[in-house]
C-alpha cells in the first residue's frame, strides 16, 4: 500500500497549483499595465478572492460548526479599520507595511472575535444569531463614534497595497490552513458538534471552548479580508460593514453550500460573476440594470426551497478532498484494538 505518499500528496499538488496560479496572475498584472488585459477583469478576480476568504471563514462557523452567526461583517470592519489606521499612521511602506497592517488586522479581529464569542456562546440557536448581529451593529456604531477613524464619514487616504497578487497569496494561505483544519481533529469536532452536540459533549468535547475557538479563527480571517479590502478600496465607511454586507456573505455561502470549502469558492464565484454579467447584460436599459437586485434574492429563495444544501453542501471537489483512508493489512488482529 501507499504509505507516506498521501502526506505529501496534497502539499505537492497545492504547491504546483499555487505556483502556476501566481505566475498567471503576475503575467496578467503585467499585461494589464500595458492595457492588454482589461483592468475590470482583474478587479472582478480581486473582489472574488477577498470574498472567498470572507465566505469560507464564515463557513467555518455557519457550515462546519453549524451555528448561525450573523455578524461576520463586524469582524471584517475590525480588520479593515485596523489595517487602515496602521497603514496611514506607521512609518512603513511597501512589503513591511502590508505584513504589519494585515497581521494587526488579523490579530485585532481575532481578539474581538474571541471576546464576543465568550459572551455570544452563552446562547444558542436564534439567540446566537441575534446576539452576533447585535455585536456587528455595535462594532459599526462604535466606529461611527470614533473621530480618529473618520466617524460616519469614513476613512480616506489609505495607501493602495492590495493587488490581485497579494489577494491570491492570502487566499492560498487561507485555503492551505482551512484545508488542514477541517480535515484534522479540530474540524471533525466542529462537524460533530453540528451533527449532534449532545453526543459530542458526551465524547468529552468541551463544546463552548471549541465553538469559541472556531469563532476566533473565523473572525481573524474576516479581519484579514477586511484589511485587504481597506487597502484595495483606499476608502472605507462604517456603513459598508453592516448587516447588508453580512447578508450578502450569507447569500454567497448558502448558494455554494455550507460545510464545503469548494462550495464557498463556487458560491462566491457564481454570485459575483452572475451579478456582473447581469449588470452588463442589462446595461442597455438603466432601469433593467437594477433588476439584478431582485434576481439575486430570487435565486437564493429558489435554491433554498429546491436544494437546501446549496450547490455543493457537505461535498468537496476531488482535489480538496483528503487522501483516502489508509487500509490496514489483513494481519491486524482484533487484540491490537485494545492497546
Amino acid at each position: 500500500m501507499k504509505d507516506y505518499s498521501n502526506s505529501c500528496w496534497f502539499k505537492i499538488r497545492f504547491g504546483i497549483f499555487s505556483a502556476v496560479l501566481l505566475c498567471i496572475i503576475l503575467i496578467l498584472q503585467e499585461l494589464s499595465k500595458n492595457g492588454w488585459v482589461n483592468q475590470y477583469y482583474l478587479h472582478i478576480l480581486t473582489v472574488i478572492g477577498m470574498n472567498v476568504i470572507l465566505v469560507s471563514s464564515l463557513n467555518l462557523v455557519n457550515g462546519y460548526l453549524g451555528e448561525f452567526a450573523l455578524g461576520h461583517a463586524g469582524f471584517m470592519a475590525c480588520g479593515a479599520y485596523t489595517a487602515a489606521y496602521l497603514s496611514t499612521q506607521l512609518d512603513l511602506t511597501g512589503f513591511p507595511a502590508i505584513i504589519v497592517s494585515l497581521g494587526a488586522a488579523i490579530i485585532a479581529a481575532g481578539i474581538i472575535g474571541y471576546l464576543i464569542g465568550l459572551a455570544a456562546f452563552k446562547t444558542v440557536g436564534d439567540y446566537l444569531a441575534i446576539i452576533t448581529l447585535g455585536f456587528n451593529m455595535i462594532i459599526v456604531n462604535a466606529i461611527q463614534n470614533i473621530d480618529s477613524l473618520g466617524g460616519p464619514r469614513g476613512f480616506t487616504g489609505i495607501p493602495k497595497y492590495t493587488s490581485l497578487f497579494s489577494v491570491a497569496v492570502c487566499l492560498l494561505a487561507t485555503y492551505y490552513i482551512f484545508y488542514h483544519l477541517v480535515n484534522s481533529n479540530f474540524g471533525r469536532l466542529w462537524v460533530a458538534i453540528r451533527e449532534n452536540s449532545l453526543a459530542a459533549e458526551l465524547m468529552g468535547i468541551n463544546i463552548n471552548q471549541v465553538k469559541n475557538f472556531v469563532f476566533t479563527i473565523a473572525a481573524a480571517f474576516a479581519g484579514l479580508a477586511g484589511g485587504l479590502w481597506a487597502e484595495y478600496q483606499q476608502f472605507i465607511t462604517p456603513r459598508s460593514f453592516d448587516y447588508i454586507k453580512t447578508t450578502e456573505l450569507l447569500v454567497m455561502l448558502y448558494l455554494g453550500g455550507t460545510g464545503s470549502l469548494s462550495g464557498s469558492i463556487l458560491g462566491v464565484t457564481v454570485y459575483i460573476i452572475s451579478m456582473e454579467l447581469l449588470r452588463n447584460f442589462l446595461s442597455f436599459n438603466p432601469q433593467l440594470v437594477e433588476m439584478r437586485m431582485i434576481v439575486s434574492p430570487l435565486i437564493l429563495i429558489i435554491i433554498m426551497i429546491t436544494r437546501q444544501s446549496g450547490l455543493l453542501g457537505n461535498r468537496e471537489w476531488r482535489w480538496l478532498r483528503p487522501a483516502e483512508a489508509y487500509i490496514p493489512e489483513e494481519n491486524i488482529t482484533h487484540d491490537s484494538v485494545k492497546n
Binding site: 496534497f10 471533525r188 453526543a199 483512508a325 484494538v337
Partner: protein, 257 residues
C-alpha cells in the same frame, strides 16, 4: 473492585419523581442489566450518570472518584461512554470520521502543526486512521468507511455507535436499549458482540434493555425499576421469578373477566 458506584441517587421533574434513592455497584468486568416498564426511570438514570441531568441528591463514583457534579465533558473524559436509545450518530460524517472524533484527546498534534500541515500532523492522522480502521474491522463495518453514517442500516448504526463509544477508551459503558428494533437474528448477533466486546476490552457494562432474552443471556445481575424505584435486584433467575417484577411487567395475573 467496583467500577461504578452509585449511592442514593434521586431526581424529580416538576413533582414527578423520576428516580428515587437509586443504588448501584457495578463490579469490574461485568454486565449489569437495568429493566423496567416504560417511564420507569431507566434512561433518567443514564442521564444522571452521564451528567445530562443534575441529580437532586446522591453521588456517583467512578473507580472511587466522585464524578457527580462534574461537567458533561469531564464525566465522559473520566471514562464513561454511552449509547442512546434513539441513535445519536454524527449523521453527515463518514463512518470512519465518526470513529475518529473519539480520538480528539489523543490526536498527537497541535494547532500550529495542523495549519502548517507538518509531517507530524500527517503521521498522527495516519495513526488515527489506522486505529479507527481497526475498530471498524472489529465491528465489521470496514466496507462502509466512506459512507455517511445516516446511510447505514439500523443495525449497523447501532454497532457504529457502540464502536464510537469504545474508541474513546471508556472504563464503563452504558448501553441504552441496544437491541431495540432488531429482529431475532440481529439480536442474537448483538448478544455475541456485546459479550465479546466486554471480554476483549475489559469493560464494565450497564445495560438497559426491553428484550428479556438479551438481559438474561448477558447479565450476571439484573436490577428492576418501577416508578423510579428499585423493586428488585439479583441474578436473572431470581429476578424473573420475583412476583413484584411479574406484576410490574404483566400486571396482576387475575383471571380474565
Amino acid at each position: 473492585m467496583t467500577a461504578l458506584k452509585i449511592e442514593n441517587l434521586s431526581k424529580s421533574f416538576g413533582g414527578i419523581q423520576a428516580v428515587l434513592n437509586y443504588n448501584l455497584e457495578l463490579p469490574d468486568n461485568t454486565i449489569t442489566g437495568l429493566i423496567g416498564p416504560n417511564g420507569a426511570g431507566k434512561t433518567s438514570i443514564f442521564n444522571l450518570i452521564s451528567g445530562i441531568y443534575r441529580p437532586d441528591s446522591g453521588q456517583v463514583f467512578l473507580n472511587d472518584k466522585e464524578i457527580t457534579h462534574k461537567a458533561l465533558s469531564m464525566i465522559s473524559r473520566s471514562g464513561i461512554a454511552r449509547t442512546f436509545q434513539n441513535i445519536r450518530l454524527f449523521n453527515q460524517m463518514t463512518v470512519l470520521d465518526n470513529i475518529k472524533t473519539a480520538f480528539h484527546r489523543r490526536a498527537g498534534y497541535h494547532f500550529g502543526e495542523t495549519i502548517l500541515g507538518l509531517s507530524k500532523f500527517y503521521l498522527s492522522e495516519k495513526k488515527i486512521d489506522r486505529e479507527s480502521m481497526e475498530y471498524l474491522n472489529y465491528f465489521g463495518l470496514t466496507g462502509y468507511k466512506s459512507e455517511f453514517a445516516k446511510n447505514l442500516c439500523y443495525g449497523d448504526q447501532r454497532r457504529l455507535e457502540i464502536a464510537r463509544a469504545l474508541a474513546s477508551e471508556p472504563k464503563v459503558l452504558l448501553l441504552d436499549e441496544p437491541a431495540a428494533g432488531m429482529n431475532q437474528v440481529e439480536v442474537e448477533e448483538l448478544i455475541k458482540l456485546i459479550r465479546k466486546v466486554q471480554k476483549d476490552f475489559g469493560l464494565s457494562i450497564l445495560l438497559i434493555e426491553h428484550q428479556m432474552p438479551v438481559v438474561i443471556e448477558l447479565c450476571r445481575s439484573i436490577q428492576v425499576l418501577n416508578f423510579g424505584r428499585l423493586i428488585a435486584s439479583g441474578n436473572p433467575s431470581e429476578v424473573i421469578s420475583n412476583p413484584e417484577v411479574i406484576q410490574a411487567y404483566l400486571g396482576e395475573m387475575e383471571p380474565v373477566i
